[in-house]
Symmetry: C2
Subunit: 333 residues, 2 copies
């Protein structure tokens, strides 16, 4: 391990925020030397962190318009200021594959929470590949945990696959929804609800109060019909207003209840999650290795000619490429 | 090729809908024998289809609540009944990883369009893995095209990664939005707009007419600011009402304009797409091969023990697994 990496790891274990920041930047780098150092850093941190220190991981997901940022800022500020927690917020950001830029607004969104000494806010770009969410997020969580944060919020945008991936890195998944219900949303809700451990109808204030009450009833019905995610836990459906702060305490009480009541389940899940990350990491390494193989580079260029003439299907070309790869490897004894 | 597969391929090339249905079921199967037959079917179809017959592929995406089903049914019915096209609608359905069930409603949603003789409506489940969208959708498009459908709509749900994947299988991507604009939606719009070739504000009827007009102005501004996806094409922003049918003709005129004006670009993109599918197929085959390797199965079981004790990071375990895989392959000379 480079002396700078060791310094970083030690600073991180002391809970220095700037070291945490720099460590996250290091593990997000695709520079091969950085990757090596990142791995060494992670190993060091795993071996040297205080035993038994583990942060509770709350995933927060919801469709655009649910008010996730406001909710996280309000709940986070309460948790830090009134409950004495040290909180890290990781905003998972499925970046645009075209620009590799952020599609979330920048992190200044959580201006109030960001300045809290006991809070750490960080967007976590995933560089195109959706499978990258779990991998990086997990490592970021591990770093935050080692830096002494006892609570981690993982925010994810969208109503698609990303919350299912995020669910693979958290202990509990909170689905935040706006006070509305349309025919099309019903279909989506069903899928997302299967992974949600709690549903919160936000914006239950002003003109939307009645609508929010109806939404709670609708979601409660839907929860009854949905397939149960875990034994021994029925996802509660609550409403709140992140803008006025109303009912945020109730939300946190439910989270705490889950944390206590499901502690064995949480421990089991974390083990399963580690194994899943190992595989996803392995797949990435394997793909990269194969794509960089010189024989594969040459063969794929030739196959592309047949492909573009439309005489061979991509599936067939891929099979040919696979043969080349296996033969090349066997020959390199 | 099994005689049944040949029969299927020949029926498909004659444009028999039931054969198209059965062929799609075949390529969606993960049974190894079915996969082999599916590949033979695809090769046969590629070699024997009428040359020069290629369907125009329109991707339709948008957030939940935009009214995609109603829009597709209305536009599709018009295209089939008034413009004389033969239309296949493929609804890409990012299935729940937990249940492997559908999160979209069932296909009876498009009851009117489904009964049209010149239309074919089919949901296309993707079995969890998001990368599966491009692969399967492309093969389904190829089959529909070979069965004589000259127009294919690919519908996708969500505001996440899925529309970027769908963009990789279509000639043009239409983003359908509801007449609304919130702060949070702004961020998402930017990312999605980078891949959209046209934006349509739906539900421009009744009480929402004014809001829709404002939304058109907002999106037009945003399009001006967004990074240009293609040379020579500025995504038009239009409004329509799928419910009343108002302005659907204008929408289709814009689509036709794109189809003609961008024909060279479309041809280039298709070539790039074929190459991308080859790689995604290759990656899948590679991963499957490695996961089924007996040495990998044994080693991973051992590594899991170290993982769950928390002394080794998933990244490190994956690297160990990679070494085992490469050594095993080299030894099997």
């Amino acid at each position: 391990m480079a002396p700078k990496t060791l310094e970083l790891a030690q600073g991180l274990l002391k809970g220095e925020r700037v070291c945490l920041s720099r460590a996250i930047t290091l593990i997000e780098s695709t520079n091969p030397e950085h990757e090596k150092q990142a791995e060494l850093l992670l190993e060091y941190v795993l071996k040297n962190r205080r035993p038994g220190k583990s942060a509770f991981r709350l995933g927060i997901t919801g469709p655009p318009g649910a008010g996730k940022s406001t909710f996280i800022e309000a709940l986070g500020t309460m948790v830090v200021k009134e409950m004495g927690h040290r909180l890290a917020v990781i905003a998972v950001d499925p970046s645009s594959t075209r620009t590799h830029g952020s599609i979330l607004g920048d992190k200044t969104r959580m201006a109030k929470l960001s300045v809290e000494e006991r809070a750490f806010v960080r967007p976590s770009p995933t560089r195109g590949r959706l499978g990258g969410i779990a991998q990086h997020t997990n490592e970021v969580i591990l770093l935050a945990e080692s830096a002494g944060f006892d609570t981690v919020f993982v925010e994810t945008v969208g109503l698609g696959q990303s919350e299912i991936e995020v669910d693979q890195c958290v202990d509990m998944l909170l689905l935040l929804v706006p006070p509305a219900n349309g025919d099309e949303l019903q279909g989506v809700k069903k899928g997302v609800m299967e992974v949600a451990d709690m549903i919160v109808v936000n914006k239950a204030d002003g003109d939307l109060k009645t609508l929010a009450r109806h939404a709670v009833v609708d979601y409660s019905h839907a929860v009854q019909l949905a397939r149960r995610k875990r034994e021994g836990w029925t996802p509660p459906v609550k409403k709140c207003s992140a803008a006025t702060g109303e009912n945020l305490k109730t939300i946190w009480e439910e989270v705490s209840k889950f944390k206590f009541q499901m502690r064995n389940d949480i421990a089991d899940r974390r083990m399963e999650q580690s194994v899943a990350w190992m595989w996803s990491n392995f797949d990435d390494q394997l793909i990269r290795y194969a794509h960089e193989d010189p024989k594969i580079v040459t063969s794929s260029a030739n196959l592309q000619k047949n492909l573009t003439s439309g005489q061979v299907s991509p599936r067939h070309a891929a099979r040919d490429l696979m043969k080349v790869f296996l033969e090349t490897l066997k020959a390199t004894k």
